[in-house]
């Protein structure tokens, strides 16, 4: 099963199995990992599931679609080139090994 690693602002890492088709956001919520709020439940309405994708694993992802790109303008912490909404990152074999860093705050 694809493994996703979440790194918080203190550098603490948690690696969990996230079933294919499940979002990186849900993977955090299900596994009780802090740092992702996901206020709108994964509907691309709130930008509170913002993550910074580790540069070393950035090539596993396709670039964001228009709406995600727009909502990334609403993140509580600064948007960076590796910023993504974790609700839009669906786990798959291609994402196995993905490392995401949760920001200091989400809202």
């Amino acid at each position: 099963m694809p493994k996703i690693t979440y790194v918080n602002v203190d550098g603490d890492q948690t690696s969990v199995d996230v079933p294919a088709g499940t979002s990186v956001m849900r993977g955090a919520v299900f596994n009780d990992i802090d740092g992702i709020v996901a206020q709108c439940g994964g509907n691309m309405q709130c930008a509170t599931c913002h993550v910074y994708v580790d540069e070393s694993t950035l090539d596993k992802l396709d670039p964001p679609q228009e709406q995600e790109d727009e909502m990334l303008g609403f993140t509580a912490c600064p948007r960076r080139p590796n910023s993504r909404l974790s609700c839009q990152l669906k786990s798959s074999d291609a994402l196995d090994g993905l490392i995401v860093h949760t920001p200091e705050r989400q809202n």
Partner: protein, 406 residues
Amino acid sequence: MAGGAPPESVVVVGAGQGGYQTAASLREHGYRGGITLISAEDALPYERPPLTKAYLKGEADEAMLWLRPATYYVRQSIDLVSGTVTEIDPAARSVRLSDGSTYDYGHLVLATGATPRTLDVPGAELRGVHTLRTAQDAAALQSSLAGARRVVVVGAGFIGLEFAAVAREAGVRVTVVETLDRPLARAVSAYTAAHFTRLHRRHGTELLFGQSVKSLQGDSRSHVKAVELADGSRLPADLVLIGVGVTPRTELAAAAGLPVHGGIAVDSRLRTADPHISAIGDCAAFPQVRSGSRLRLECVQNAVGHGRSVAERLAGTSRAYDELPWFWSDQFSTTVQIAGFDEGHDSEVVLGTDPDAFSVLLFRGDDLQAVESVNRPGDHAAARRLLTQGTAPTPEEASAPGFGLK
């Protein structure tokens, strides 16, 4: 009040999105006192928006809706209690549950939400007649829909239309009956409403406006079989969803002597008349900072914003609640997003010439009050920023050729 000492314990009545958020934010802000979150449902706190969408379509099970897994509440020392609160004793600062147990509080947060209105007509109690508020309601509706052929939806509000869309996509015949002359009449402009009328008709849904229900008729097994309208016509139906709005749950507050004005009356810091009791979310009528008028909003943003605000105050910081309301709804492949709150507009500016992708700017005088965006997420994002920063355009500016929100 600039905060003051945090209460020794907080009891939250209602474990919807607002109640959950209060508990979660209290811990985020370092609150160390006892937190009791009392849920009327025997389930972990969950999200409601998917109940009319992914959950109803069978694309999400109940665990997918959980805001947090059970381990979270243990780890955060949030005491999750399943039960019905029957009484508040403001003098003793305690709440009593129907099983006789009592919980003392330093501060009480009422997040009691709202309950769906039912129809006061003969036959309203027949089997096959549903309302939709809880996961249990949605499960019953989903199972009813699986065997249904003809659906009648009473009320063309968001719940009714979202369900109508899911039912149509399931291949069922759907008729929506609305007493007013357009859908979403209390929620969106006539321009946006017209889009939704076209959208649903294009998908084969029958929309009847200016029609009210006289009775619901049942078969010999007390299952609904038809809806009789005021004009005497009769719509066959084996499933009826009543989506005619909600009533805020204010009974506990009223019985405790707290003022109720269309919702539990609170000040700009969400405090009721009793300094030890706050009210948040769907059940709370709060003053809007911009206009001073009392508002009661039914949306996730409001519940979450209120929960966060109350938690910050109880944890020691205090400021007036002043979040921009926003809301969204998905129907078929259309998303409507609303930023701000329209308290009565006198002019509209429409951006975009595509009838299926546009934004409507609602002005009162020169003030932009709200922006409705249909399939224009970028406009919605920009509108939220403009309304929050107070840099919104005037009607003249918005009407200029080439104007864009972004």
